[in-house]
Homo-oligomer: 296 residues x 2
């Protein structure tokens, strides 16, 4: 049984569905996603730019400034922002004891089509390396489309001959842009139907790249040499098979990978951090897993 | 007619009433007040301490760091925080082009009875003066109980022989702790009944000070020498007569005072800043009024 606090996540996705299907009904705006998250407190937020990309530092009091989480927010390439995800990644950074850098990569329809977010994640990563942060002291983190980006940006870094990060934390990643999973049929997810996810992927990729192209579909990508991955998914989310498929595929490619499925939880249930026990448990597990990989 | 966005303020107070009358119904928590406010963006938030009081700086990009708003949040001495009001005062600071310091003064039941919040507001003010910020470059600001505090802290400063601030911005101030106004009868305010306000005042003051004592009731206080005051109130709020009474009393005491009443608005409607046109208009008026008084 999901906690009462995690029920707020379901209500959020129900309201988001209403906003998609009845845009004139005066539903919640894009920023309301972040209202799910309690203030982590004792975290400072400073807007900056990272490699030319608008960005935000979330800096927990007493953290190790030389350890950095590069945090890529979700939102299907059309929504989410450094503001909606400030608190989520603030919780994570505080639990890890590191700084978090949130790039505000461009979204659709304002020029954020593929590969722009990958370019901008790469630019933010390069800016960290340029500031003298060691690659082995950086972990990528991302939720939903940001989870896709946290892997794709690693593939880009490999292609460019950059050192890879120490690890990546993937929260409900959108791994299979073809949305082929059976979990679309079995989940009670209020928003993420197969058709909706394919529409998001098509809008992002345009006409020239297919949804199963190995450059963009993580289930077909060559993941060899990718950093250790820790994937979390909700047991009741439509993208559960994205997580399972990515785990299986990464393992075959020789990647050190862990998957935790949280029973009864929905997509990006970690947004209820500071309120829901399941989200707090998830944040703790992410921190416990990544800290030794960052030498903490 | 209130804008659709300002209706969210009414919904918030309705939900707050439910949380008061049915505490087990799983209503919104204390932090949700701040969800009314959109992110101002391009404002940094840094937790600090000010004279021993936990506090937060809200620092708009490109602001004049030598001009400071000392911002005292509302919440009836029992709720509200530097987190709920971060964005409201961020909007105000950004519009003014100054830094904002938000003291997280103690609340009830954790030791925040009278005069503790006044002591802590004074300590924060002294810390600003001690950092070399000129009194004439400081304005006090406060909403609801924070509006009460923005005046009471000035009386305290006068009593202590400190230079007063340049101005004070009072948003729906709780001026008359006796809650004697007729507007309690005529307003459609969902939460603030006369009884509720008296209960808050009694809880705050304890048994030893009466609700009409001139040390605590701004309608009976000696306001001579107080800085220019700009009061805003909602035309439909229960505390409208607090604002009217304070304006009249301040004028008699020789204070330069302005009152703007916003038709159809409820208590602290400015919390919808960044979303509701009435709130944005109010923030603009506050900034336009205070900027020349801060030499901006």
């Amino acid at each position: 049984m999901p906690s009462k606090q995690s029920e707020a996540v379901r209500k959020h996705w129900e309201a988001a569905r209403l906003a998609v299907t009845q845009p004139d009904a005066g539903g919640p705006d894009d920023e309301s996603w972040g209202d799910l998250t309690a203030e982590p407190r004792e975290v400072d937020y400073l807007e900056t730019e990272a490699g030319g990309v608008p960005a935000m530092w979330a800096v927990p009091k007493g953290c190790r400034p030389d350890r950095v989480l590069l945090c890529l927010h979700g939102g299907g390439f059309v929504s989410g922002s450094i503001y909606t995800h400030r608190k989520l990644f603030g919780h994570l950074a505080k639990a890890v004891g590191a700084r978090a850098l949130l790039p505000g990569y461009r979204l659709l329809p304002e020029g954020g089509c593929y590969p722009v977010p990958v370019d901008e994640a790469e630019a933010a990563y390069r800016s960290l390396l340029g500031q003298g942060v060691a690659a082995e002291h950086i972990a990528f983190a991302g939720d939903s489309a940001g989870g896709w980006l946290a892997v794709t940006a690693q593939l880009r870094a490999r292609e460019q001959g950059l050192p890879g990060p120490a690890a990546a934390l993937l929260l409900s990643p959108f791994a299979d842009l073809e949305a082929s999973g059976e979990s679309f049929e079995t989940s009670t997810d209020p928003l993420f139907t197969r058709e909706f996810c394919r529409m998001l992927a098509h809008g992002f990729l345009g006409e020239s790249i297919g949804l199963s192209d190995p450059r963009v579909n993580l289930l077909y990508a060559d993941l060899s040499g990718v950093s250790p991955l820790y994937i979390q998914a909700g047991g009741d989310e439509a993208l559960l098979d994205d997580a399972r498929g990515l785990e299986e595929h990464a393992r075959k490619d020789g990647v050190d990978v862990r998957l935790d499925v949280f029973p009864g939880m929905l997509h990006t249930f970690q947004m209820a951090a500071g309120r829901a026990p399941e989200a707090d448990d998830a944040i703790r597990r992410l921190a416990d897993w990544v800290r030794p990989r960052l030498g903490l």
